[in-house]
Amino acid sequence: MNIVVCAKQVPNPEIPMGKFKIDAQALKVIPPEGIAPVISPFDEQAIEVALRIKEKNPGSKITALTVGAGSAGDILKHALSMGADEGIFLSDPAFEGSDAFGTAYILSKAIQKLGNVDLILCGRQAADWDVGQVGTLLAEDLGIPLITIARKVEVLNGKLSVERALIDGYEVLEAPMPSLVTVSNEVGLPRLPTGMGIIMAARKKVAVWKAQDMGIDVAKVGKNAARSEMVKLYIPVREAKCEMFQADTVAEATVKMAVRLREAKVI
């Protein structure tokens, strides 16, 4: 099986609230100083799903793709260290400012160039702008079936069997291949790269494909092609003032808090 995983680099989403800064004028988020960007968590879980499928279908090949500029391709090394076979960095100045439609188009051209893809996996949404659409739009561009928000993905008798996470349970869906599946955190934690994986990844070369390598119409990508525009970016004001309870012991402090909650008619 040929499996493609689409992934994205994001600022570390686990940073403390106080370190999150924006440039409201430029409508940009300022990368936190001294904290390295990471692969978007749902995308990392998509790689995990690909690796589990490969374990059950030996001989499968996993190709990781990312669209971006500068160091954004570093996450491909992470994918390789987890066990992906190949990484391709889709990078061109023309891509800058692309919206979900532009990004999906770029990915679709890369996947068409690869050819013979059986399964495409994407994270359900990226931990930066939380747009949650690239996977869907990519499936629409490629004209292939789509299942979103998967909590389990298996290949059974040449077909995909996918559990889609629902708010109060899940449903099982069946799709032919090739199909695209977006992966949710319910699949479980991704594996850590092994020492050998990191050494192997360091040795592998990541190919870089530019717009012309994929036959991309540059009028369909970049900021000017975007269908939506952001008109304002701001950090919401949080008014909550936390009333802290202290005492000689933690137990006594919580007792004081319980009494206060009762007084305030909260309980």
Partner: protein, 332 residues
């Protein structure tokens, strides 16, 4: 596009009744439609929709388009996308709104692609720009660390709304409106994906979304066993137990009790967060709570920045005393 008019909402029906999110859609839709001088339309897809259609009018719809078809009785991504696309193309609305639900998350981007529009997902505020009459959609980004306001250049201008972020109107049974049946025949060749099974995993007792008291554990709980004391506290208060994404991913509890941006949205009278660091994607699911209590070892934890009452300390020391005191207080 003949005219840049029309505001269509796509509602949802549960057990023959209009779902709360649909009433919320009509609440905000009414405001937006009035600001634009539009009629407020709602599309309902499914089977046995008569009762829900009447309710939609009571909640503010001017016209309800009813696409009844046994094939639409349960959500199938392909058949719903095909049916909704067909109706939306006929109506050609300038604005198209849905809920950020199991259905909306899946369907909205598909429709954006099929209709040539663009969608802002999971919005917490919608407004009409006075000069242009365009939709301004505010949505949390970076897990809720910031808000972005989006304007769509394509048509339809689409948005999904976060549950409980916008208020429904008081239903008025004497409101007048039209119910219009539409053809929702779906070409079988469009349906590539089959739903073979649906499994409900609702927790016993009070539903998390409806609970007045929610007790949530995070990674700081350290394991599945520790959730037992949270269950006890929930029992004492008459509430439900929730969990953070981290606690669910570690397999300590069922993922259906996840509270947050990609899980459930709760707005109880009291939300008690124990061993919860307070990642923004989690706060997104509980920030509508009237009161938030935090118990955490780390005085610097984000959760204290959004909580109203807090104790710094180990949950193992904090919880037994807190549960005991709550029991006493509630018995008096």
């Amino acid at each position: 596009m003949a005219e840049d008019k029309g505001l269509l909402t796509i509602g949802e029906v549960a057990n023959g009744k209009l779902a709360p999110i649909a009433a919320e859609l009509l609440g905000i839709g009414r405001k937006l439609a009035d600001a634009r001088g539009d009629k407020l339309d709602m599309l309902l897809l499914g089977a046995n929709l008569a009762e829900a259609a009447k309710q939609a009018i009571a909640y503010g719809a001017d016209r309800v388009y009813v696409a009844e078809n046994p094939a639409l009785a349960e959500y199938n991504p392909d058949s719903y996308a095909a049916a909704a696309t067909k109706v939306a193309k006929q109506l050609s609305p300038s604005i198209l709104l849905m809920g950020q639900t199991d259905m909306g998350r899946d369907l909205a981007p598909r429709l954006a692609a099929k209709l040539g529009g663009a969608v802002s997902m999971d919005c917490t505020e919608l407004a009409i720009e006075p000069d242009t009459k365009l939709l301004l959609a505010t949505r949390p980004v970076f897990g809720g660390n910031a808000n972005g306001v989006m304007r769509v250049k394509a048509r339809p201008q689409m948005a999904t709304i976060r549950a409980k972020s916008m208020a429904a109107l008081e239903p008025n049974a004497s409101r007048q409106g039209e119910v219009i049946k539409v053809d929702a025949g779906v070409d079988a060749s469009a349906v590539k994906v089959k739903v073979t099974k649906k499994v409900k995993q609702e927790a016993l007792g009070i539903k998390l979304e409806d609970a007045e008291f929610v007790v949530t554990g995070g990674r700081g709980m350290g394991g599945a066993e520790a959730f037992k004391s949270l269950e006890e506290l929930a029992r004492v208060l008459g509430g439900a137990v929730g969990a953070t994404r981290a606690a669910c991913d570690d397999g300590w509890v069922a993922s259906t009790i996840q509270v947050g941006q990609t899980g459930k949205i709760v707005s109880p009278k009291l939300y008690i967060a124990v061993g919860v660091s307070g990642a923004m994607q989690h706060i997104a699911g509980c920030s509508g709570s009237k009161n938030i209590v935090a118990i955490n070892k780390d005085p610097e934890a984000n959760i204290f920045k959004v909580a109203h009452f807090g104790v710094v300390g180990d949950y193992k020391e904090a919880l037994p005393a807190f549960i005991q005191k709550c029991k006493e207080l509630l018995a008096t």
